[in-house]
């Protein structure tokens, strides 16, 4: 064509460059349209990436905040466990002191009664009487101290039940707060995705008119968009689609994913609170039996003392050398023997009481050891957890990752000669909110960082 123009240029004096200009113009127009189209695609891609980044950072920051709050609350839970443990341990110390005192008194009474039993005869009946009488205050003291131990165990039971409920609700409120934090992070994540997606500027201002048409057309107005944003919850996926004035379809997707906050690892006391109650109840029962045994032993010792009193009264006659002496001796020996016989069940009861006290001791020692931090359990958040005595939250099981995926689809326009079309654009960002935080031991330094982005 150019050769032709060149060969015949003398024939055409006017407008010979017009075709060239037209051609150039067409090319320029095509290039401009391609540029506009490409820039629009690029802008959409930028919006998509920005929204993914913003959504992920917002979600990660709120998750980090929720975990930091949980860590701080957890340190208060530790303090509550500590104060509970301290006051209960003091009560145990008191119970041990009193039980030891009771044990020592009952042991003294037993050794006294056993000694009397071994030597009581008519000749020693007066000494036996005086000696056996010394067991009364010992047994009284033991019984009194055992009564105090029972009341102390009752108080320990109150403290343990109260503390296990408080710790359960402490854990429940931290759990609720962390779950709420996750919901809030997802909601805000979606909010940031849509706010940075450039959707608002593509919509018409104000509310849709009554005759706006179907829901997609109504969504083409900014007020409908605001309503949509207000209605965003904690679902993983949200989509906003609308049609513009030229009936072109547009769509923005947001997917915010972070694992559920549901598995809480709790450090619980060695014994569940119901097992503590069982141990305390058993100890109380054994002490009750020991009290009864000591009381019965005291009655037996008193009965023995009655016989020793009679024997002691007959003793001077027995050793008087008078004719009545042999008869007196027979009665005296018989009473001394009866006294010894009366001591037998007493000594047996006394021994049994000591044995029962040892059992109660072992149960109380076990109950105290049972309050120490023990196994780790994964709590469900149901009421069954209340049976454990929670010490603190060991960990909230989570990979500390947030992933946000965004996608935008915009239908091109038909310009007659030119029909524009835009490819779907998608992007994603991953945030790690581990920071240096830990729930236990307390280190509220969770912080969010973008660790992976869409490189396309």
């Amino acid at each position: 064509m150019f050769t032709y123009f060149h060969d015949h240029k003398n024939k055409y004096n006017k407008g010979q460059l017009a075709p060239v200009y037209i051609l150039i113009l067409v090319i320029v127009i095509i290039m401009a349209m391609v540029t506009v189209n490409l820039s629009k695609v690029a802008m959409t891609k930028t919006d998509t990436s920005n929204s993914a980044d913003a959504g992920a950072i917002a979600t990660g920051a709120i998750m980090a905040n929720a975990f930091n709050s949980a860590a701080v609350q957890n340190s208060q839970m530790i303090t509550t466990y500590w104060s509970t443990y301290a006051s209960i341990a003091l009560m145990f110390s008191y119970a041990f002191t009193k039980l030891t005192m009771a044990f020592m008194s009952a042991t003294s009474a037993l050794s006294t009664a056993s000694a009397v039993m071994g030597v009581a005869t008519c000749a020693t009946s007066c000494v036996a009487l005086t000696t056996i009488r010394t067991t009364y205050p010992l047994l009284n003291s033991a019984i009194l101290n055992l009564g105090t131990v029972v009341t102390t165990i009752y108080a320990i039971g109150i403290a343990i039940l109260g503390a296990s409920i408080v710790q359960h609700y402490y854990y429940a409120s931290i759990r609720k707060m962390a779950i709420k934090g996750r919901s809030s992070s997802i909601r805000n994540g979606h909010g940031f995705v849509f706010s940075n997606s450039g959707t608002g500027q593509k919509l018409k201002a104000g509310s849709p008119p009554a005759d706006a048409g179907d829901s997609l057309k109504r969504n083409g107005y900014r007020d409908s968009y605001v309503d949509f944003l207000d209605g965003i919850g904690d679902d993983e996926y949200y989509n906003y689609s609308w049609k513009d004035g030229q009936d072109r379809s547009h769509s923005v997707d947001s997917r915010v994913h972070t694992n559920e906050v549901k598995d809480f690892e709790l450090t619980v006391a060695v014994l569940p609170s119901l097992a503590e109650t069982a141990a305390l109840t058993a100890a109380k029962m054994l002490i009750g039996l020991a009290e009864t045994a000591l009381f019965d032993a005291k009655l037996d010792y008193i009965a023995a003392a009655v016989y020793f009193t009679t024997a002691c009264a007959k003793m001077p006659c027995c050793f008087s050398g008078t004719p009545a002496a042999p008869a007196c001796c027979t009665v005296c020996e018989a009473d001394a023997l009866a006294g010894k016989a009366a001591l037998i069940p007493g000594v047996a009861g006394n021994t049994s009481a000591l044995f029962l006290m040892t059992g109660a001791f072992a149960l109380l020692v076990g109950a105290l050891a049972g309050l120490l931090p023990g196994p780790t359990i994964t709590a469900s958040g149901e009421w069954d957890d209340i049976m454990f005595f929670d010490c603190w939250i060991n960990d909230i099981k989570h990979d500390h990752l947030v992933r946000v995926d965004t996608k935008q689809s915009h239908q091109g326009g038909d310009l007659g000669l030119w029909k524009s079309s835009y490819p779907d654009t998608a992007s994603y960002a991953v945030v790690d909110f581990s920071g240096r935080g830990s729930i236990f031991p307390l280190n509220p330094r969770y912080g969010s960082d973008i660790v992976e982005v869409d490189k396309n």
Binding site: W82, L161, Y170, T281, L356, T358, A362, L363, V365
Partner: protein, 300 residues
């Protein structure tokens, strides 16, 4: 020099000496009354609680030194100040056939009880390594244990002194405050009542209305069962005896939860619990109720 002058001079001298030494005597007496603390000790909080019929002031401290160093510090300082240590572990070791597990032995060895003139000081350590943050947590409880009168059963309830700052819910009549935790817009208090759970539950259902609360949810009374307790895990060192084995019985727990809200959107949970042996009629714990009241301001 006349006698009067001499006496006046002597008196003056005595007064001077007294004036110079009085502050140090007073300080020495004051020091004698203060429990010395190892360096680096930080007080975390304190509370006044009834323990076994005596009102004790419990102060909670942390220190970076280990429990043994702190325990040794108190043993030497308090003994120097005239406190006499009660050797509980030594006394307990005299009980024949009583096996004390290592964990309890360590605990009792670190813990100490000191007595002086009717006063008792108990030092208790949260077991070393329980909270793995490098801090030793210990408590000093101090109270006057000189018995003025024989304590009654009610005196043993581990009652906490004080009451919640927030008057947001009724307190069951004659209920004892057992624990309290309060901060901005939040309160959790536990009470103990000698009445049964149904009566206490009815009280809260009726009386909360007067405080502007209305019930939003009620978790019905639920029974949680311990199952058959295993004596070997519950008391591994118990003597193998029928009476002892028979004393270990199954226990259960009854729990109920009432949820309330008010016009402001604040929430209040009232949780009620009772625990005790399943078959025990008339068991003291079985006929009593623990109540937890938890208040959360809207938006917390």
């Amino acid at each position: 020099m006349c006698l009067k002058y001499k006496i006046a001079r002597l008196l003056g001298l005595i007064l001077l000496v007294a004036a110079i030494t009085a502050p140090s005597i007073y300080a020495a007496w004051w020091d004698r009354d203060t429990i010395p603390l190892p360096s680096g000790t930080e007080e975390v909080f304190q509370e006044t609680r009834n323990i076994s019929g005596t009102e004790f002031v419990l102060k909670y401290y942390t220190n970076s030194q280990d429990a043994k160093a702190i325990s040794d510090f108190f043993r030497s300082k308090l003994t120097a100040l005239g406190w006499k240590e009660k050797e509980l572990l030594k006394e307990m070791s005299q009980i024949p056939n009583l096996k004390i597990p290592g964990s309890v032995e360590d605990m009792l060895a670190a813990n100490s009880i000191f007595e002086r003139g009717g006063e008792t000081v108990m030092i208790n350590f949260l077991p070393q390594g329980a909270v793995q943050d490098g801090k030793t947590r210990f408590t000093i409880a101090r109270g006057n244990t000189e018995a003025k009168k024989e304590p009654k059963e009610d005196d043993f309830i581990p009652r906490l002194s004080g009451k919640p700052k927030l008057d947001i819910a009724p307190v069951y009549p004659a209920a004892a405050l057992i624990s309290l935790s309060e901060n901005a817009g939040f309160m959790r208090a536990t009470y103990f009542s000698k009445d049964d759970i149904d009566k206490v539950s009815e009280f809260y259902k009726n009386k909360m209305l007067a405080y502007g609360w209305s019930i939003t949810d009620e978790k019905p009374l639920q029974k949680l069962d311990s199952g058959e307790p295993d004596p070997s895990s519950l008391c591994p060192d118990c003597p193998k005896d029928k009476k002892i084995q028979q004393a270990i019985k199954p226990v259960d727990m009854e729990v109920q939860e009432l949820n309330f809200s008010n016009k402001e959107g604040d929430r209040c949970i009232v949780a009620l619990a009772v625990a005790g042996p399943k078959d025990a009629v008339g068991d003291k714990l079985k006929n009593t109720t623990t109540v937890m009241v938890q208040y959360e301001k809207a938006g917390k």
